[in-house]
């Protein structure tokens, strides 16, 4: 029986009972209980089933290292699997379910796996399921997926919210035990900005539980006083329920703060991820007790000695009436004494050391506890609960000397410092033979940018196990009442000569069901590296990341390899220390804040008028088409094109990049950036330009206008605006730093509208205020003025092939300007058109589109844009590259138009196959389509393609492949399908 004691339980408030539900059963606990302590108080020792063999499992530990007690927690939109009972505090209304069993926790079908355990050794899955190959996909994998996994996957959207928080400090102290408190106090007194984070709700760590006296005061008084001193310091911030999850380069640290996990009231953020920059990090993360490897060490009721003590002292819970303590060190004696003092029975302390313990042994014996030296546990009896232990000699092979009835076994295999934070950024470890533990190697700390250590480690995390040594390590000299301790004796198997039968039920990794025999098998099969053994056996790969199993596992491996522990080494410690929620990582970035959506000033009108949105250039939303009732998207696109060609259309072109380039050297600068001349552009004129990178490849294009003697405005593509601006600044700041040029990205200063179509001029004339005649503003010219009361810059440029004006007004006036155009254009049949109509109309005109005709490997020559490559200039970015032999080769694929013979539309991405195969056995190709559309103007499919020697093959019929495996015939034609002479745009 595990039960609640009448007294003790410093963490719980007996005046505040809470009720929670476990597998539909209503259970009671107290405020301050963890789920584990509350379950134990209700005699619910069995808490789950293991991953592989579905063995009954109870809680082993009392903290973050717990491997077994994981639950499906919450329901519906607050459901979450794999929640650790030892770190989850209970609250009124908490609902939990046990995991990994069917049909119930008490009776589980999967437990038959145990009977086959002989045939389910390490590597079983690899060996078994590799043949026959197709079986994996169709038989094995679906079956394994069904039976694998611990918790269930949440099915509903998370109801909780999360956030991030940026914090800066001089010293970050991880851990609120006595070492962390002392370290924080020391740094605080030095005037440093200190942040102290403690993962639990409680400060003081083990010192308080163990009832140590520090300078004559109880540890709890010492903790309370130190905490009060810290809280009184302006420069110190102390937070509990905030775990340091990871240490990263440059003093970056993640803190995982749990705000509402312990409350019934779930309002406000659930978790807060602290993104900390710390000048210096002090790891005071304590140590974790190791299990001992003996037969049946996973049966519910076998627990860490320190955990048994924690449950009594912290939560007033006894884990059993009769507890046998088994140990290889002095510390577990404290558990025996604590239990005895709490009125519980301790039939024996089984001490593997033949010499026994130090002075504490006398204390135990004085209380009437029998100490059995040089002994070991041969077997634990019981199935769903410990019923007794069989005792043998540690030095032997397991012959039973006597049997002791008990319902709890408290084991201690020694302590392992929590070196995770020291190791995350590369701090190295030393094996300490005397203490049988890995300790931080002070010679090889994690190094910061300055080559100095940026993480230090104090207290038990540094391998100090006595209170006086812990505080001395943190800079405080104190006297304590702790007795001297006898040395630990490393025990990696119990008894040391255990045969295969005992070894195959001696668990190393509880969560992943890895046994001593599995690691030994891996060694036999040649897995010498600890990293390989880990992956082969899955040792330490579960959600607890091997906090209990790693050291025992690698000690077992080193023994099996006849090597030493330091020679085998550890696996890599990676953040996070314990799993953190995806919600915390996401922070505020969910729903409408998941990603920024860039909106033009006319966004709301579009949205209210059937806009089918398309993401463009990253975060912009542009209207693909304005779909009316009863129309398909395709209908809408065709209608928009026909109307633009016949009447007049409006396009929201506000997203186009606009960059001001000004200065005495601006002309020279633009001549280098663009392939054609911009310095000789006349004021008031527009010129289309191409921009290449240093490798000669087309990068961006757009219309450049000259505003005055030394000012140009460069239009870029929507997606290229930010990059082009960066590109300009890069050259100006890093290469041509002495050129006098300033740039400014004014993309968002203007709302820009293209008014295109034969009736475009009439619409602007109706608005009035500016002369927009051909004589006043010729093709490729612009004028500033007032149009219908709006401050406007009117450009005569055309991407549609129609008579077209692009009008820029201040963004704040954009929505009103759009409304005014619709009103003025009503009598001329004005209709807005979207990006798809724009794409098709430009394709009908044979205009290229960056990102369609180009893909980062295309040079202007490929697109027959030789006319835009200045021969007058000595240089421009990309010129040299374009002269290289491969770029100048006549064999490059070049742009042509193609028309299918049957009028159909060529499929997106279609290739033009060529005869034969290449050396890799792939079909040869001689071209590919770059843009392909149905043209409502021509009432047939049109396309542009890059084809080998294309322009020389006009009129030739080639074949494009189709998804259904057939081919479609198409004729190579001029890429300008519509108004070849440009008469329409030039009226």
């Amino acid at each position: 029986m595990s039960t609640r004691l009448q007294s003790l339980g410093r963490m719980i408030d007996r005046s505040k009972p809470v009720e929670f539900t476990f597998n539909g059963k209503r259970l009671r606990g107290y405020q301050g209980d963890t789920l584990a302590s509350a379950m134990l108080a209700n005699d619910q020792m069995m808490m789950g089933r293991s991953f592989k063999y579905h063995r009954p499992r109870g809680v082993v530990a009392s903290g973050a290292e717990e491997p077994n007690a994981l639950f499906n927690m919450g329901t519906g939109d607050r459901f979450e699997p794999n929640q650790r009972a030892t770190t989850q505090e209970v609250f009124d209304g908490l609902t939990i379910k046990s995991q990994n069993h069917y049909p119930s926790l008490e009776f589980d079908i999967g437990a038959v796996n145990q009977l086959f355990a002989r045939w389910l050794p390490a590597g079983f899955y690899y060996k078994m399921f590799i043949h026959p190959r197709p079986f994996w996909k169709y038989v094995y994998e679906p079956f394994i997926r069904q039976s694998a996994g611990l918790g269930q996957v949440p099915k509903e959207k998370d109801a909780d919210t999360y956030e991030h928080f940026y914090f800066f400090c001089d010293v970050l102290v991880a851990g609120g035990g006595i070492a962390g408190l002392a370290a924080a106090l020391k740094a605080g007194k030095e005037g440093k900005r200190v942040l102290l984070l403690e993962q639990t709700a409680d400060f003081g760590g083990r010192a308080v539980v163990d009832g140590v006296e520090i300078d004559g005061k109880s540890a709890s008084d010492w903790v309370a006083e130190t905490l009060a001193a810290l809280n009184a310091m302006e420069n110190v911030t102390v937070r509990s329920r905030n775990m340091v999850a990871g240490v990263y380069d440059h003093g970056y640290v993640l803190g995982y703060e749990r705000l509402t996990d312990h409350l019934s009231d779930k309002s406000g953020p659930r978790h807060r991820l602290w993104r900390i920059r710390a000048g210096e990090i002090v790891s005071a993360t304590g140590a974790i007790e190791r299990p001992l490897s003996f037969y049946g060490n996973d049966i519910p009721g076998v627990m860490l000695a320190s955990a048994v003590r924690d449950y009594v002292v912290n939560w007033g819970v006894s884990c059993g009436d009769r507890t046998v303590v088994v140990t290889n060190n002095d510390d577990a004696y404290r558990t025996a004494i604590t239990l005895k003092q709490a009125g519980l029975s301790v039939p024996a302390i089984i001490d593997a050391r033949s010499s026994g313990a130090g002075p504490i042994a006398a204390e135990a014996e004085k209380l009437g506890i029998k100490v059995m030296k040089g002994k070991a546990i041969a077997k634990v009896k019981g199935k769903k609960r410990v019923t007794g232990v069989q005792i043998c000699l540690q030095a032997g092979e397991g012959s039973v000397i006597e049997e002791i009835a008990c319902d709890c076994v408290a084991m201690s295999g020694g302590w392992s410092p929590v070196v995770h934070l020291w190791s995350h950024c590369g701090g190295k470890l030393n094996w300490d033979d005397d203490l049988a533990m890995f300790r931080p190697n002070p010679e090889k700390p994690p190094l910061g940018a300055d080559g100095q250590a940026f993480v230090s480690v104090v207290g038990s995390a540094n391998g100090h196990l006595s209170t006086a040594a812990v505080l001395a390590d943190a800079g405080q000299t104190v006297t304590t009442n702790e007795p001297a301790e006898a040395a630990i004796q490393p025990v990696w198997m119990m008894p040391q000569g255990a045969g295969v039968k005992l070894r195959s039920k001696a668990w190393l990794d509880y969560q992943n069901d890895v046994k001593v025999s599995d690691v030994q098998l891996a060694a036999q099969e040649g897995y010498e590296s600890v990293e390989h053994t880990k992956r082969y056996t899955t040792l330490g790969m579960a959600t607890d990341q091997g906090k209990l199993s790693n050291i025992n596992g690698l000690a077992t491996l080193s023994a099996a390899l006849d090597s030493t522990i330091p020679n085998v080494g550890t696996t890599t410690f990676r953040p996070p220390y314990t799993p953190i929620s995806l919600g915390a990582i996401t922070g505020v970035a969910r729903d409408e804040l998941f990603q920024p959506v860039r909106k033009t000033p006319m966004f709301q009108w579009h949205d209210a008028n059937g806009s089918e949105w398309e993401p463009v250039g990253g975060q912009w939303r542009r209207t693909y088409a304005y779909v009316r009732d009863g129309e398909t998207t395709k209908d809408a696109v065709n209608r928009e094109i026909v109307n633009t060609r016949e009447n007049v259309g409006l396009l929201d072109a506000s997203t186009l990049g606009k960059i001001i380039v000004k200065g005495p050297d601006a002309g020279k600068f633009l001549d280098m950036l663009y392939t054609n001349m911009m310095s000789n552009l006349k004021i008031g004129k527009c010129r289309y330009g191409l921009m290449c990178n240093e490798n000669g490849f087309l990068m961006d294009d757009g219309v450049v206008i000259r505003l005055d003697e030394d000012t140009w405005l460069c239009h870029t593509t929507t997606g290229g605006a930010a990059h082009t601006h960066d590109w300009m600044e890069d050259w100006l700041q890093c290469e041509w730093w002495d050129w006098k040029v300033y740039t400014a990205n004014v993309t968002e200063q203007y709302a820009q509208v293209a008014i295109a179509g034969p009736k475009a001029r009439q619409v602007l004339e109706k608005l009035g205020g500016m002369d927009v005649s051909k004589d006043a503003i010729g093709f490729m010219e612009f004028k500033d003025g007032t149009l219908g009361g709006f401050d406007a810059r009117v450009h005569r440029i055309s991407f549609s092939g129609e008579l077209s004006f692009e009008v820029a007004v201040p963004a704040s006036q954009g929505a009103a300007f759009w409304d005014a155009l619709l009103e003025a254009g009503a009598e001329f049949g004005v209709m807005p058109y979207g990006t798809e109509a724009m794409h098709i109309m430009r394709a009908e005109k044979g205009f290229i589109m960056i990102g369609d005709e180009t893909d980062g490997t295309i040079i202007p020559q490929d697109l027959n844009l030789h006319w835009a490559l200045s021969k007058k200039k000595d240089d421009y970015l990309g010129k040299r590259a374009q002269e290289r032999s491969f770029m100048a080769s006549p064999d490059r694929w070049k742009l042509v138009g193609v028309e299918t013979l049957d009028g159909s539309v060529i499929e997106d991405g279609a290739y033009v196959p060529a005869p034969g195969n290449n050396p890799n056995g792939q079909r040869n190709v001689q071209g590919r389509v770059t843009s392909t559309y149905y043209s409502p103007t021509l009432k047939r499919g049109i396309a542009m393609a890059l084809v080998k020697n294309g322009p020389d093959r006009m009129g030739e019929v080639i074949e494009f492949n189709k998804e259904d495996g057939t081919m479609v015939k198409a004729k190579i034609v001029d890429p300008v399908f519509y108004d070849k002479d440009g008469e329409k745009q030039n009226v």
């Binding site: 940026y166 033009t600 400014a744 968002e748 201040p810």
Partner: protein
């Protein structure tokens, strides 16, 4: 002018920390050589303010001049005055190498005021917002979650934040959500 509407048209989210869009505001990007006598003279003649210290701003009457980079300032002024002030810079600095450009419409300006306004910003920007590190008169160009932003602290302890107009909705959503989520109580 009567047609001009700011990005969020004065939207406000009231609470312990109030987030409010400040409506149409004049802004001029001014680039030039801060060491140049003409530049300093023109700046103080037109705005009444001198060149601010690195990552600081100065206020003079209607004008606030913010340091943006070693060769860039931002002049904040009444919306109606932006065009004429650009013209004034153009006239005063004629013949020197400089750039004055009206960017009033390209941005949105949002005020964050109240008890824990600094913590609201610290939830979204990687900036040390502790009271003794980020003080009145300081300005920081940084990011707000996933977008570029700049903010500065006014003498009354509130903050003004500037972002691009197209992401005003997003920025407002971030700030109001973070304000509503409450105090951290750490800085």
């Amino acid at each position: 002018m009567s047609n001009a509407v700011s990005a969020l048209n004065g939207q406000e989210a009231k609470g312990d920390v109030t987030v409010r869009e400040l409506g149409l505001t004049g802004m001029i990007t001014l680039r030039g050589d801060f060491e140049d006598e003409n530049f300093g003279a023109a700046l103080s003649q037109i705005t009444g303010a001198g060149v601010p210290d690195v990552r600081h701003f100065v206020q003079a009457g209607d004008f606030t001049v913010l340091w943006m980079s070693p060769d860039e300032l931002l002049v904040i002024l009444p919306y109606e005055k932006a065009a004429e002030t650009v013209a004034a810079f153009d006239a005063a600095l004629k013949g020197t190498h400089f750039l004055a450009v009206n960017v009033s419409d390209a941005r949105a300006l949002i005020s964050i005021s109240g008890d824990f306004a600094n913590e609201v910003l610290a939830k979204l920007s990687p900036v040390d917002m502790s009271a003794d590190r980020f003080t009145a008169g300081m300005v920081r160009r940084t990011r707000l979650a996933q977008v570029a932003a700049a903010f500065w602290m006014l003498p009354d302890g509130s903050y003004n934040l500037m972002c691009f107009r197209s992401v005003a909705d997003y920025a407002f959503g971030l700030l109001s959500t973070s304000a509503k989520a409450g105090k951290v109580g750490a800085i």
